[in-house]
Each structure stands twice: as C-alpha cells, then as structure tokens.
Assembly symmetry: C2
Homo-oligomer: 275 residues x 2
C-alpha cells in the first residue's frame, strides 16, 4: 500500500483498544481533509510486546514520511513512559485523566487493564443475550405475535438498515428490538399494516435516500427491478408518506451510522440503557 503523505494513526492498548479507537476516530472526524492509515495494536501488555509495536510503528513511519499519531490507553506507567520517550505524537488518554479523576473520586487509581461489560458481569450479559435471541427470533417480520414482548419495533423497506440497528440495540443496550419489513403490498395504500395496530407506541420508521438504497440493493441483485432507482424512489416515497400519516417517528439511515440510529431510537423511546 502506498503510505506516502498519509497520516499513520495507531490505536495502542493493553486490552482491546476499543476505547482508544472510538475516541481517536471521533477526534479525527474533526479533521476530515486528511488521508489516514489506521492500525490497531491491542494486547500490548509487556515490554516485549511494546518493543514489537514500536518497531512496527517506526517501519511504517519511514514509508509515510510523517510523524505518526498514537492514541493510547496503556495502563502500565512503565510502558507509558517508554512510549512517550519515542518521537511520536502520543495522545495518552490514561495519563491525561487519571490524576484529575483521582481528585474527583478521592481515591488512588488501581492500574488494572480496562474491563468492559460482558460475560464477566453475568446479569447484564444474560439480559443482553436474551435481547439478542429475541431479536434474532423476530427478525424480518417473523413471529409478529411476539411483538407484545418487544421494547421497540423498527419499520422500513428491504435493505434500509433494520437488522443491523436491531442487533446493535440488543447487543449493546439489552433492548428487545423487532423489525418489520414493509413490502409492496403494505405500501400500495400507505397505511399501517393491520398486525402493527396494537403496537403504535413501539414503532419507529427507518427511511433512506433512494440513491443509497439503489446502490445497496444493486450490490445484492444487480439490475433487478427490486434494485432499480424507480422502485427505490417509489418505496421510499410511500413509506415516508405512511410514517407521516400515521405519526410514526422517522429516522434517516442514509445520514446516520448504525450506532447513531440505535442511540437515536433509544433516545426517542426514552428507553434507558441497561447498565
């Protein structure tokens, strides 16, 4: 790969590196004009691993010619010191915040590598897995009788982003999220399908701009009627009309990521995240 002139960005951590990456990418979104090359270096939890990581960074730096940018969440102070001694731009999230957090919490930090929620926290894990199972069982309009147990029900045309948004809601937040695909028959008269009538307060409608929908469908079934721009335009127009007439909150999946869609639904539904 040609790295010349690209900014090399590293996410370095003694655990997964997910925190470093999530915040690092948010920060870089404020600098949209650059070209970046991203590398994730997780589980850097020993001197030896850090040596390998530093050698890796130095090698790429030679090819790019630009001083690399490292977002780090190393918890071990000795490893942090070694990293800071290199000629890199290091954004060390832990070093920056641990001291002021110690003041805020009146406690000294215990340098243990970051734990996230998961199997470790059994109650929350079981809730999230119940939600995932529920979501898989009622995916794509299956078993609408189960809708009474749903926290939310997402509507939308085929390929508008319902399944990934529901899975994200279930996995991250423990929300029981069903989804119902709106098909041609439903859209002939833009009216809420009968089996959804009892669940109005759980309904959220996904919309999408027709050109994006066309590109997504085109990748699946090239040059089909289903993927044609006319069909996409027609379906989107009809669902938007239906959402409006029936008073269903509408979210646009062409301008939001899966994470943003999921968080928006949660926010609109005033559902609390399962902590």
């Amino acid at each position: 790969m040609d790295l010349a002139g690209k900014h090399n960005i590293y996410f370095l951590s003694d655990r997964t590196g997910i925190s470093a990456e999530t915040l690092g990418r948010s920060l870089l979104s404020q600098f949209p004009d650059h070209e970046y090359h991203f590398t994730s270096l997780p589980f850097v939890d020993s001197e030896n691993r850090l040596d390998l990581a530093i050698a890796d960074i130095q090698k790429t730096t030679e090819r790019s010619g630009l001083r690399p940018v490292i977002f780090s969440t190393l918890t071990n102070p000795a490893l942090r010191q070694r990293l800071l001694a290199e000629d890199f731009f290091v954004f060390d999230f832990f070093a920056t915040y641990l001291a002021p957090l110690q003041d805020a919490l009146h406690q000294k930090a215990s340098p243990i590598a970051g734990q996230m929620h998961g199997i470790v926290d059994l109650g929350s894990y079981l809730d999230r897995m119940d939600a995932v199972n529920f979501t898989l069982n009622v995916d794509d309009g299956l078993r609408t009788k189960e809708y009474e147990h749903a926290d939310i029900i997402l509507l939308g045309v085929s390929r508008s982003g319902k399944t990934p948004t529901c899975l994200y809601l279930a996995m991250q937040f423990g929300i029981r999220a069903a989804n119902y695909p709106l098909i041609d028959e439903d859209l002939e008269y833009p009216r809420l399908p009968d089996q959804l009538g009892n669940y109005r307060d759980k309904l959220y409608g996904l919309s999408i701009d027709p050109a994006s929908l066309h590109r997504i469908r085109q990748a699946r079934r090239p040059d089909s009627r289903y993927a044609s721009i006319e069909q996409c335009r027609r379906e989107v127009k009809q669902v938007d009309l239906m959402y409006k007439q029936e008073g269903i909150p509408r979210l646009d999946s062409s301008s939001m990521s899966v994470e943003e869609l999921a968080t928006s639904v949660l926010f609109k539904a005033k559902l609390h995240r399962q902590f």
Copy 2:
C-alpha cells in the same frame, strides 16, 4: 433509586455519546471500589438541550450529595464553555485533545459533530452486513458446507458465548464468523468432529469456567441435567482436552467480555479489521 453516596457519572455528547462512554468507563475501571450511577445524555446539540441536561444533572446531584463527574465530547465551543462554567467535574475529551491534534496534523479542526462508520460509508457498511448475514446463516452449526467461506470458526459448548462473539466480529469488524456447538456426541471421545477437519487454521475454541456456565444455563433451564454443575464440569473438561490435543487456540469467556473475546480472536488470527 437511592443515590446517596453514589458517584453520578454522565456521558454527554452532541451525537451518540458512545466515545465519551467507552473511554469514561475504561477510566473508571481503574477505580473499582466506588459505586456509580450512570446516565447517558446524547444529542445535546443546542443551548436548550444543554439547559435541560444541566438541570437534570443538578437535580440528581442534590439527591447524591456528591459533585457529579461529566465525560463530554461536545464539539460546539460555546456549549462547552457553558458546561465548564457549572460546578461539575468535567472531563472534556475534545477540548483537551483538539489543540495538540491541530499541531500534529497541521490543520485547524472543523467543529462538526462526530461521525462514525456506518451506512454513510457504503463500502464498509456492505462488507459488515455481508458478514452479519453470513454469521446468522451459519449460526449454531448450521450449513457447515459454508465454512469454506468463513474467516474464522468458533467452537464451544452450548452457552459459552459463541453467538455474541461471532455477531460482534461481524458487526464491528466485518469478519465472517461461523460457530459450531460441541455437543455430547462430539465430546465422548475428545476429538475434532469430522466436518471441521478441513478448516483447522480457522478454528478457535471457547472455554468457560464450569461455575459460570452452570449459572448461565441455570437461568435458561433451571434444575435440568443440562444445567447441572456436574454436566458443565464434564463438558468443559472434555472440550479443554480436545483443544489441547488438537492444538486449537483456546480463549476463556469467563474472564473476558464479548468485545475482548472478539478482539482476541482477531489478534490471534492476524486478521485485519475492516477499516
């Protein structure tokens, strides 16, 4: 809820708040002795919304008696200033890092609210959705003929965390992750099941401590043979033996979260994340 003596932690953002929450929680994991009460305040993108958020924080503060801790990724400088004027502990991730990042990248930041990957980035979205579809189609030992198209195949006994780990790999990283449940017949002689023989280099084995497995199964099918501690011990012993004899890399889901399991598999498999 009784909030007295609990530290109130807020994740405040003009978008989803996922960055603020991810890093905030990592930082707090260094202070495990405290009791926390978490609140997420996403989409705080106007003066009015910020007023509501501040009022909300002040109200909870009265009930807890402790000065609240705010992790913020507000991008709007005017809103940031207003938040900082309050009597809160504010950890403002953007204010801290934007100036040094401007130096590193030789560019001024454009204060736009953070965008994450998703439908917006169509290529990456389609890759991830293909991976999710693949993973759902081959979940739980279904369609083993498709294994030739898998990037990785997770093994493990029932309820050891295979499905959530596979879904995370697919959704976050675009990895085609299959999973194969090891059942009693497979475990009688601890040997690799025949249909997996051709895919040795894609195999990763989940293990779990028997007590955790017992608790997870007990929540599903209370007091069944399936959930009994004896059965859990036997199954785990046999899979561990099989992983060892067959040289299959082993990961322990009782000490790692879903995110950590997924990142570890990726790391061991030397698979690159789909950026």
